[in-house]
């Protein structure tokens, strides 16, 4: 008797489909924590008018230096302004300025790094020596000195941070380009007569920008800290606009009996920094995986 062997029908294997199947992508805990913290902060900043009935600059001198709890949840400052309002509206200022102050150096530094890394030669040498000069100074010293010279105000903060911050992006991108331009796909494009701008934009930029993006996450922390520091030194966003740095500075004189005036904006800075750092680390981890 012949045994009937059941043969399972073999699906014709389709290698492309098999390989294309996306790997399970799970958010790593670091990235998740960073996203949650930062998301909450952003929501608080966006919905500030709904979360608090008081305006950030509305003064109520009869009710100044009110304690925690009561009508003003986080108390008031010496001019009777609601601390919670100032905290939430301050997040709007500081986060916006922080992000924008990273965007400009990111763009300028990356483009410059891309060009000099690819071209090399005299331009490369000159720009890199300039980079060395800027890096030789501590970040804060240079930013504070620049804002001091230019005068306080949002625009001048952007200018100062951009003038100092671009060097990091320039170095990162240049280094990556030096490697990438010797890759055979870049050589192949060159040999094939593809125009230089196209090689830069389509072949090199997408392959080198990841490192700059990762760095920009930690850079936002630095830039927000810089803005808060400038505000504390009276060089930041001019009053009466709310800003965490000036809140800390204003509350300083009452530190002994009204400690919350400085502590609460301080904690806000710490949480922001923590959220951004976690986000940056999470992205690094994510990039390493793939």
């Amino acid at each position: 008797m012949t045994a009937v062997v059941e043969r399972p029908e073999l699906e014709p294997a389709d290698p492309a489909v098999l390989v294309v199947a996306p790997r399970a992508r799970r958010l790593n805990p670091t990235l998740l924590a960073g996203l949650v913290l930062l998301g909450l902060l952003l929501l608080a900043a966006i919905f500030a008018p709904l979360l608090t009935p008081y305006g950030p600059t509305t003064q109520d001198l009869s009710n100044s230096l009110a304690p925690l709890g009561g009508k003003h949840l986080l108390g008031t400052d010496q001019l009777g302004r609601d601390t919670l309002s100032r905290l939430l509206y301050g997040a709007r200022t500081d986060l916006r300025v922080g992000f924008l102050a990273v965007l400009f150096p990111f763009i300028i530094g990356s483009v410059l790094g891309l060009v000099i890394g690819y071209r090399g030669g005299l331009l490369d040498t000159l720009v890199m020596r300039l980079v060395d000069m800027v890096i030789a100074f501590p970040f804060y010293v240079l930013v504070i000195a620049l804002v001091f010279v230019l005068g306080p105000g949002t625009r001048n903060i952007y200018i100062a941070i951009t003038a100092v911050g671009w060097v990091a992006y320039c170095r990162i991108v240049r280094g990556e380009v030096l490697v990438a331009k010797q890759q055979e796909y870049a050589l192949a494009a060159r040999a094939g007569g593809v125009p230089t701008w196209r090689i830069l934009l389509r072949h090199l930029l997408p392959n080198v920008i990841v490192q700059a993006v990762v760095y920009s996450m930690s850079d936002i922390v630095l830039s927000i800290l810089a803005i808060v520091t400038l505000g504390y030194l009276g060089l930041g966003v001019p009053p009466p606009a709310p800003d965490w740095g000036s809140m800390i500075a204003d509350g300083q004189q009452f530190l002994l009996d009204k400690w919350w005036l400085t502590t609460i904006p301080g904690v806000a800075v710490v949480i922001t920094g923590l959220g951004l750092s976690l986000l940056g680390d999470g992205i690094v981890e994510r990039v390493k995986q793939t």
């Binding site: 492309a16 294309v20 055979e184 593809v194 196209r198």
Partner: protein, 334 residues
């Protein structure tokens, strides 16, 4: 006789190093006629890859051409400025790179990568170049080309990727294909497939080929003529049949002897002892003499030049005339 497609004349390439100028290529000359396949073999560091890159103006910094000319269709392209040179060369020559892993941009769909050069150089529209990309993929034997054109490089196997690299090289209808060890990164079965593909392409479109490799088996299967390089110079050239059957330079002889023979079961793999000379130092004698099994005391006198042997053959050995007895001599040595 028609003008050769590519002529390299007395090419010298220097590479500045910490120890001094490294004379990596020291007067290499060869030519490739339309439809002809020339193999360039030699061990690592003999200057074969640099020579290839110099033709396309892709020398890695800080290497540079210090003397000699590269002529494409009789036009000296080394005299042109960079943009004109690139245009003149890429019009008829393109290159197949060695490592299909790095020869493809990991972040670009392969269809777009193939379409890029026709769009930039031949003025194809976006849609026309897409059609062309699929057509090229089909030509190099990629199954299901419409869908593969939308894939990213990491989604393809090594063999398919190498086919894509060839498709890119073919995209501007070159008349000469420079191949830098096109099969080294592949396993043997895929190697055979890729070689077959290259052969087929040559027959179909009368494509000339310059194949750089250290694999003599690959060369003898694919090429019409062979140039053997040693220490930055061509030491022997001629037709494949001549060189393989009766080499007239001891280096070629030793190279051929170190190819394992599949019929011989218990054979010790023969090697060439020693290492090539340091090219930072000036070469004053036959550079192969220290490693040559037929070396004689008078080989140290001067560096031999290429002797004309008739039948378009050359050899740079002081004792070319003894070549016929080498096979017997070698037996004694072994």
């Amino acid at each position: 006789m028609s003008t050769p497609l590519l002529q390299v004349e007395d090419l010298h390439i220097d590479v500045p190093t910490r120890r001094g100028l490294l004379h990596a290529v020291r007067g290499v000359s060869f030519q490739v006629s339309p439809g002809e396949a020339l193999g360039l073999v030699g061990e690592s560091g003999c200057g074969k890859s640099l020579t290839l890159r110099a033709i396309l103006d892709l020398l890695p910094h800080p290497a540079e051409i210090v003397r000699g000319r590269v002529l494409v269709d009789g036009v000296d392209v080394t005299a042109l400025d960079r943009a004109a040179r690139r245009k003149a060369v890429s019009a008829s020559i393109s290159m197949v790179f060695q490592d299909s892993m790095t020869a493809l941009n990991p972040l670009m769909r392969i269809g777009d990568q193939i379409a890029e050069a026709p769009m930039a150089r031949l003025g194809y529209s976006r849609s026309a170049s897409r059609v062309r990309a699929v057509e090229l993929l089909r030509q190099v034997g990629v199954p299901d080309p419409e869908r593969r054109a939308r894939a990213y490089p990491h989604q393809l196997s090594g063999g398919l990727r190498q086919r894509v690299v060839i498709a890119i090289a073919l995209s501007c209808e070159p008349r000469l294909l420079l191949c830098d060890e096109p099969t080294t990164a592949l396993d043997v079965t895929i190697q055979a497939q890729v070689l077959q593909l290259l052969q087929g392409l040559r027959r179909e479109s009368d494509l000339a080929m310059l194949l750089v490799t250290h694999d003599l088996a690959v060369v003898s299967e694919t090429c019409d003529r062979l140039a053997v390089m040693y220490a930055g110079r061509v030491v022997e050239d001629g037709s494949i049949g001549q060189l393989v059957l009766e080499p007239r330079h001891p280096y070629t002889f030793s190279l051929l002897r170190s190819v394992p023979d599949p019929d011989e079961v218990r054979q010790r793999l023969l090697t060439i002892p020693g290492a090539p000379p340091d090219l930072v130092q000036p070469v004053r004698s036959c550079p192969f003499q220290p490693r040559c099994i037929f070396g004689k005391p008078d080989c140290g006198g001067a560096e031999p030049v290429l002797f004309e042997l008739g039948g378009a053959r050359h050899s740079a050995c002081h004792h070319v005339d003894d070549a016929l007895s080498w096979a017997d001599l070698a037996k004694v040595h072994a």
